[in-house]
Structures are given as structure tokens and as C-alpha cells.
Amino acid sequence: MTLEIKSVTKRFGDFTAVDNLNITIGEGKMYGLLGANGAGKTTTFRMILGLLTPNEGAIGWHGKTISYATSSQIGYLPEERGLYPKMKVEDQLIFLGKLRGMNVADAKQQITYWLDRFDIPQYRKKKVEELSKGNQQKIQVIASLLHKPKLLILDEPFSGLDPVNVEMLKSAILDFRNDGATILFSSHRMDHVEELCEELSIMTHGQQIVQGSLRDVKRGFGKQNVRIKSDFDLTELGQVPGVSHMTKSVEGAVFQIEQEAVANELLTRALHYGPIRHFEIEEPSLHDIFVAKVGKEHA
């Protein structure tokens, strides 16, 4: 099953929230949507869910538009977490499961499975407001996975979780991907996207400024990082032609270069000062790309 977003534009009055967005996600694929706040991610998700109608373009799931008839196949984790604070965890999950077309017995069985998997079976009869933020977050995630959706839309799934729980959640999401679900998720955490997604988009002000597979995006960026660790002062190396940016660290410095040849130049020069302890040419991180692209847009 494929999710296709074809040249979608959404305007609110004079304001263009999403401008000519194109995304295609195949079955068993995970797609990362990156963007600063207000970039149009939530609007995009709402359009996919059919809560908003695009002004131009079309969104198709499996060749058809998404409506309430398909809602049992969709799992949605909104950015602003939403649960009834006064309702018990189990009642809440049964209610939301029923709304996604489950029967009570199935829902109960799935609740047991997920609460055990997330290591929180003791909260089954507790009210949501009595749980810690991280545990509420887990319940929220369970609510979006309970009915075994084929299309998962996760808005910032990892925010507010500690590293142990992030790993727990990642493995759950990866299971869904391996079972053939189509997954679209947004995050501020570049490392998560880098780790999980084959393909990604970076949005800013409604524009899709970067798009494609992780490898292509990195190659297309055209810049690499050179990391040198040394006991000597490397500040002057920042002046070498071809170095676009330098970040000093305690142990040495990281240089952003535009051509691989510059790396050799840097190595030769660094060795002039004295012995070095470490030299590495790194691929640019998604973080670098994001800052360079979005930062430029902001400026």
C-alpha cells in the first residue's frame, strides 16, 4: 500500500501553509518529515487524515482518498498528546480501539500485549493523569498502534522519552515497518530520522526544500566534514580556501569542506604544527544539512 502526496498546496487565506508538496511512501517504508516549528508538518498530517482538504493537488492512499471509512487502517499520534486525563488507561484504550473498529476482546488482548511490551502492566487500572509524562506518552503510542494500522502517522513520537524508552518504541515501530506498514513520521531529532528512515523531506515555511533518500540527500549536499584532533591550536586552518565553516572543540576542530581535495590540504597543514591524534573525513550529518538549509531560509 502506497501513500502518495502529489503537488499538494494548502492555503489559509493569504497564508500558504504547505506549498507544492510531493511525497511517495511505499509499503514497508519509513519516511521522515523534518522541519522547524510552523513548517507545515501538522497541516500536512491533517490533510492526509482528511481533516483538511488541500487547495491543490491530491493525496491518495492505495489509490483512493482517505476518509472515515479507512480510519481503522490508520494510526495517528498527534504532536499535542491527547488522552482523557480522568479516564482509566484500559477504558481509554478500549474506547479508542473501538473507534478504530476493534471489538472489546481484541482490544483487551492487544492492551495486555502492549502494556507488557512497554513494561507498564501495573498502570492498566490507573487514571491517565496519575501517570508520569513519559508513561502517558507510551499510552498514547499504544493508542495509535493498538488496532494494527497499515498507515502510521507519528508526529514527534520520541519527544519526552528517555533513551531506554526511545529504544523500546523504535523496536515497536520497526516491527510495524517489517510487517509492511507505511510509516510517516516527523521529528526534531535528526539522529532518529537518520537511523530509521530510508527517505526524508525537509520542510520550511511550507516549502519542501530537501527531498529524497538519505544517501542522495547527503551526497547532494556536496559538503563533508573533516575532524582533526590535535594538541595544537588549529584556528588558522579555518582560513584555508575551501573551508566553509569551522567548529572548534576541546580536542581539536571540525571543518566543513566543499571538495575532498581540501581535506588533504588540511591534513598537511595540521601536521606542520605537530603530531595529530585523529583525522577523519565524515559524511555530513542530517543535522548539518538541516541547519544549513533551514538556517539559510531563516536568514
Binding site: 494548502k10 489559509f12 491533517r46 487524515l49 481533516l51 483538511l52 482538504t53 487547495n55 472515515y68 480510519s71 481503522s72 490508520i74 495517528y76 498527534p78 499535542e80 498528546r81 491527547g82 488522552l83 482523557y84 486525563p85 480522568k86 479516564m87 474506547f95 479508542l96 473501538k98 473507534l99 478504530r100 473498529g101 493508542a143
Partner: protein, 413 residues
């Protein structure tokens, strides 16, 4: 349709189980039982007060008059105590709250009695008893002087035979009217209360779902319009259940209680036409839906529960005006402004019910009002659904009615 009922069930169950709902229901049932047993309770309390003798201090010169007075009030719950103290001393005693009141009784040369009654109470029953007793004594004395026989005295005091009958075509029979006005009074109050209570509950519920952001999840699986109608319907079921429980409680309270006394007489509705009861149910349900739709609509454009009371204001004002008009019309339901008000849909459930209950109206009048209400409810549902669609996606400090326009705009998108 399945998700509609899931939301209805959730709305209903989550409210039924809450403490405030259970407590309000219990308090209401208790209130009904207290009312049914009011005369008993009042008796119990006045007996308790009966331990302290009800004394009345009198200052009077005439010994025979004193004897006659004591004789006259001997079956009454009052004890005459003669005092020789001065006026000033007694005033001081009243002010110091040693005694409650005292009467200075004088008799002039024509045997006419004059009383100065000085008391610290707003309403003193003893004064009435004393006045009555002295009146009897004076009449007896004066008629004796005129040498009239008791039979002659009797004829003197017999009132004329005065029989009032209403022959207006639209006014009901006296018995029916009396019972109907009690019924109208109670039911108007009930409609007024439930409408305020339940529409308030709908509004805070919707606002709650928005502020806790559950709404986003809900409307991604159920259409906002369906959600709104399910909410209104579920809360309506809750209301009907609470009213039925209350009705059953009232029935038990008044039928099991043999000594209901005067209050029981008030609650006899056997002369009320069954149509009045049918109209009552109709107006109750329609009134609920009308205000509930409005509440859901307004609830959808606010995003915090704190703003709910502000949004309740216009609704509360409407229903309070309807209530005031009804109460003012209880004495004279045929006034023109009441007739006109009864067709205004937001007033209809109270005002038209008043007219239907107290007057013999041609059938088309209530039917027209019902039709206007149904159309208004439909219209409100139609507008409400539009506002709701956008409103539930709208967050921020929205609490003015301007936001309705914004919500409709967003709903279209």
C-alpha cells in the same frame, strides 16, 4: 453508525460514573423525599420547640378582662403572663431579649379595647392570636350591651355568598387550573434547571476534549459532525435517565407517604389533562436539544475549560429571560407579550408550555411553536456542524463570537 453509538456510550458512561453526577442525583432524590415529608418534618420541629412555653407578657388594669382573655386563649398555644412592670422596664427586657414582646391593654369608658403591642420580631404570631381573642371579647361585650342574641350576632357576621366562575373559552376549569399551575411551575423549573445543567456539561465536555487534545484523535476516526450529535444525544440520554430516576423517586415518595397533608393536595394532578403531560415531555426534549446544540456549537470554538463560563453567558441569559417571562405569566397567561414570546424558539419550551398548561389553546398554536423549534434545532445543527468542523481544530485564546465565522471558514477547508 457504530462509532456514533460508541461516542454516545462513552459520553454517557464517563458521566454516570463521576462523583458529581452521583452526588447531584442523590441530593435531588433526597430533596424530593424531604418535600414529600415536609409537613411531618415541620411538625417534628415545632414539637421540639414546644418545650419552652410560649409566653406573652401583658400589662393591664382590668381584672375581669384578664380572666376572660386567659379563658379565651386557653386552647391556644400561648400563655398569658400579667406583669406590673413599667413600660420602660419592659422595653428594656425586650431589647435585652429576656422576653420577645409585650402588650399594653387598656379599656376606655365605652368598653372599647386598645392594645399597644411592642415586639422585636418581624412577624409575631402571638400578636395575631391576641388580636383575635380580644376582638371576640369586645364583640361579645358590645353585642351584649346592644342586647342581641347570639343568633342575631351570627347573622351579622355571615359573609355574602360569592361564587366566581371563569367562562372565558381559553381558560381551564378551576380545579384543573390550580393543579396545572403547580405542575407548570414545577416543570418550568425542572426544564430551566436541566437545560442549564446539561448544556453546561456539554460545553465543558467539548472544551475539555479540546484542551486535553483528545479531540484530534477523536476526529481522526469519527467525523466532527457525528461526534457533535453523539455528544448531544449521549448527554440527553443521561439527562432523561436522571429525570426518570427523579420521577420514580417522587412517585414512591408521594405514594408511600400517607400523611402528606396539604402538600399532597398540591401534588394531585388527576384533573390535569394528559395532553399537558405529553406537551411537557415534548418541550422538555425539544428544549434540551435546542440548547444542547447551541452549547456544543459554542463549546467547539473555545479551547480551554476556563472560557466555558464566558460562553455560557448568552445562553444563560436567554433561558433566564424565558424563565422570568414564564413566572410573570403564571398569574395571567393571556397577556399579549407572553403569547408572542411563546413563539420565539428559545423561549418556547418554557413559555408555550405555560400557555398550553394553563389555557385551552387551539391545537395549531403549540404545534406551530413546536414546528418553529424543530426547524430552529435543525438549523442550529446545520450551522453547528459547520462551526464544529473547524472549531475543533482551532486552538488559541478564542472566546468571542467572532470566532464562529473563523471556525466556519476553517471547517470548509
Amino acid at each position: 453508525m457504530r462509532d456514533f453509538w460508541i461516542i454516545v456510550q462513552q459520553t454517557f458512561m464517563s458521566k454516570v460514573k463521576t462523583k458529581p453526577f452521583i452526588i447531584t442525583s442523590i441530593v435531588m432524590i433526597l430533596a424530593v423525599f424531604v418535600m414529600a415529608n415536609l409537613s411531618k418534618i415541620v411538625d417534628t420541629f415545632s414539637n421540639m420547640g414546644g418545650d419552652t412555653a410560649n409566653e406573652l407578657v401583658v400589662v393591664m388594669a382590668d381584672d375581669t378582662l384578664y380572666q376572660t382573655l386567659v379563658e379565651q386563649v386557653k386552647d391556644k398555644d400561648i400563655e398569658i403572663k400579667r406583669s406590673e412592670k413599667s413600660n420602660e422596664a419592659l422595653i428594656k427586657e425586650v431589647k435585652d431579649e429576656k422576653i420577645e414582646a409585650f402588650a399594653t391593654i387598656t379599656v376606655d369608658e365605652n368598653d372599647m379595647i386598645a392594645v399597644t403591642y411592642q415586639t422585636n420580631k418581624m412577624m409575631d404570631d402571638n400578636a395575631v392570636v391576641l388580636e383575635e381573642a380580644l376582638n371576640v371579647i369586645q364583640t361579645a361585650k358590645q353585642t351584649e350591651k346592644l342586647s342581641l342574641t347570639p343568633a342575631e350576632v351570627q347573622t351579622l357576621f355571615t359573609p355574602i355568598a360569592f361564587d366566581e366562575k371563569n367562562i372565558s373559552t381559553s381558560v381551564k376549569s378551576d380545579e384543573e387550573l390550580g393543579q396545572a399551575s403547580v405542575l407548570v411551575y414545577i416543570l418550568t423549573f425542572l426544564i430551566y434547571m436541566t437545560v442549564i445543567m446539561y448544556s453546561g456539561m456539554i460545553m465543558t465536555d467539548v472544551a475539555n476534549e479540546k484542551s486535553s487534545r483528545v479531540m484530534e484523535i477523536l476526529i481522526s476516526s469519527v467525523s466532527p459532525v457525528k461526534h457533535m450529535f453523539a455528544k448531544v444525544f449521549g448527554m440527553g440520554l443521561l439527562g432523561m435517565m436522571q429525570m426518570s430516576v427523579l420521577g420514580i423517586a417522587a412517585y414512591i415518595a408521594f405514594t408511600t407517604n400517607k400523611s402528606v397533608g396539604t402538600i399532597g393536595e398540591l401534588f394531585k394532578f388527576d384533573n390535569v389533562s394528559p395532553m399537558t403531560l405529553v406537551y411537557c415531555v415534548i418541550f422538555f426534549i425539544l428544549g434540551y436539544f435546542l440548547y444542547a446544540m447551541l452549547a456544543a456549537l459554542l463549546g467547539s470554538i473555545i479551547s480551554r475549560t476556563e472560557d466555558a463560563s464566558q460562553m455560557m453567558m448568552p445562553m444563560t441569559i436567554l433561558i433566564v429571560i424565558a424563565f422570568i417571562i414564564t413566572m410573570s405569566g403564571l398569574g395571567n397567561p393571556e397577556l399579549a407579550y407572553i403569547k408572542w414570546a411563546s413563539y420565539f424558539p428559545f423561549f418556547t419550551p418554557l413559555v408555550m408550555f405555560l400557555r398550553v398548561g394553563l389555557l385551552d389553546l387551539p391545537v395549531w398554536e403549540p404545534l406551530l411553536a413546536i414546528a418553529i423549534m424543530v426547524v430552529t434545532i435543525g438549523l442550529l445543527g446545520w450551522i453547528g456542524a459547520r462551526v464544529y468542523r473547524g472549531g475543533v481544530l482551532m486552538y488559541g485564546p478564542s472566546r468571542s463570537l467572532k470566532d464562529i465565522k473563523k471556525a466556519i471558514q476553517l471547517g470548509k477547508e
